[in-house]
Homo-oligomer: 197 residues x 2
DNA sequence: TGACTTACTATCGAGTCGATACTATATAAT
DNA sequence: ATTATATAGTATCGACTCGATAGTAAGTCA
């Protein structure tokens, strides 16, 4: 049996476990369950390439089948809408309905966000840094893929000068113009910057 | 809709969410699921007063009924053993079998513990401090009860001099003697120190 | 055209989950 | 002592997650 001494690293893992259970428990509200809340949050944070069942499944680290069921429930409750993708007719595009977006004001994870906000600024940023390192270390070690935003993506083509209405920037993968706000959203297609440099 | 700007506190909540999902995913191994792993870990960390279905349910923040089923599965797999309590015949005492204890060497949460161990010592302890504050703040705000160890418990009666084989210390609630090792285990009955001072 | 890949859905069995109802035991009130 | 009530645990139900598997539809490439 492993040595579970109360050293710092052991405590961190235990605390993450504990907060995870707490978050799990808190998310049984408003008639939803944790997986459904996760899906709503993701759809509010995902860019157009990622508002699909497949990207959601990837993000939730679950199968497409399971995700399909979760979406069926959310659609039946009127929080999510599906519509076909024009470019690729295999793809289903997802969208939060106004009711779904409004429901996020009651997101139980806001309880945790509020508690984090009450930490001192320095402690909050240190905490974010530490958690981020752990997250990426485990993802890398287990060969899991990560989501990111344009500014951390090798496909991103910045253009700060132009002021096109469709968006000043551009995605090097799809060629699509990107509005400023879109560059802050999560994307399935992100790759590390300068992969061959 | 809530303002989800990428400020520090928002990042912390999002990272906790993300690591929670990661932990959830990692725990579908060895034929077990997250709830079953949580139960095994708890039983390895709980003192004799807390190795019961009721205490486990309280710790997991789930119903007794659900816990009963989880235990039935773990017992059928040979990881947990039940035996009657002599003092109170309503109570069922739980115990990890050797197989159950050995299985904890393959606990998927060790992946996260290892990643935490790779942080610098200072960052690790800061991380533990921040997570602990968030955890307790949310628990307090939501009126949830917490588990603790003897050294943080108002019932605890320290006795560093005596060297009784049954244990030098004592629990003021039950009157039982406590061995040194037992005082590091989780207990359902913990209360704040000096509740009326 | 045909082989292959990708995006999604449907279905199955095991398990979680809350809710409810139930049994057995302990404790308090009378 | 008897009764009422509270507590510990279990059983069962329906909704849901989950992985696994199989299937459909659509895009891609040889």
């Amino acid at each position: 049996m492993v040595d579970r001494k109360s050293s710092s690293e052991g405590q961190v893992a235990e605390l993450i476990d504990c907060i995870g259970r707490l978050a799990h428990f808190l998310q049984f509200v408003e008639g939803l369950n944790p997986a459904q809340w996760e899906a709503l949050r993701f759809l509010a944070r995902a860019n157009r390439y990622s508002q699909t069942p497949g990207a959601l499944a990837c993000f939730l680290r679950t199968s497409r089948g399971t995700t399909s069921q979760t979406l069926r429930v959310l659609e039946s409750k009127g929080y999510v809408r599906r519509f076909p993708d024009r470019r690729d007719r295999r793809v289903v595009q997802l969208e939060l309905t106004p009711a779904g977006a409004a429901l996020l004001d009651h997101d139980p994870m806001l309880r945790i966000q509020e508690a984090a906000a009450n930490l001192s600024g320095e402690m909050g940023s240190d905490l974010a840094e530490g958690l981020s390192r752990i997250l990426h270390a485990v993802e890398k070690r287990c060969g899991l893929d990560e989501f990111g935003v344009c500014w951390e993506c090798g496909h991103f083509l910045v253009n700060n000068a132009a002021d096109d209405r469709a968006g000043p920037h551009r995605c090097g993968l799809t060629g699509d113009p990107l509005r400023e706000a879109e560059t802050r959203l999560l994307c399935v297609n992100t790759i590390p910057i300068t992969p061959q440099a």
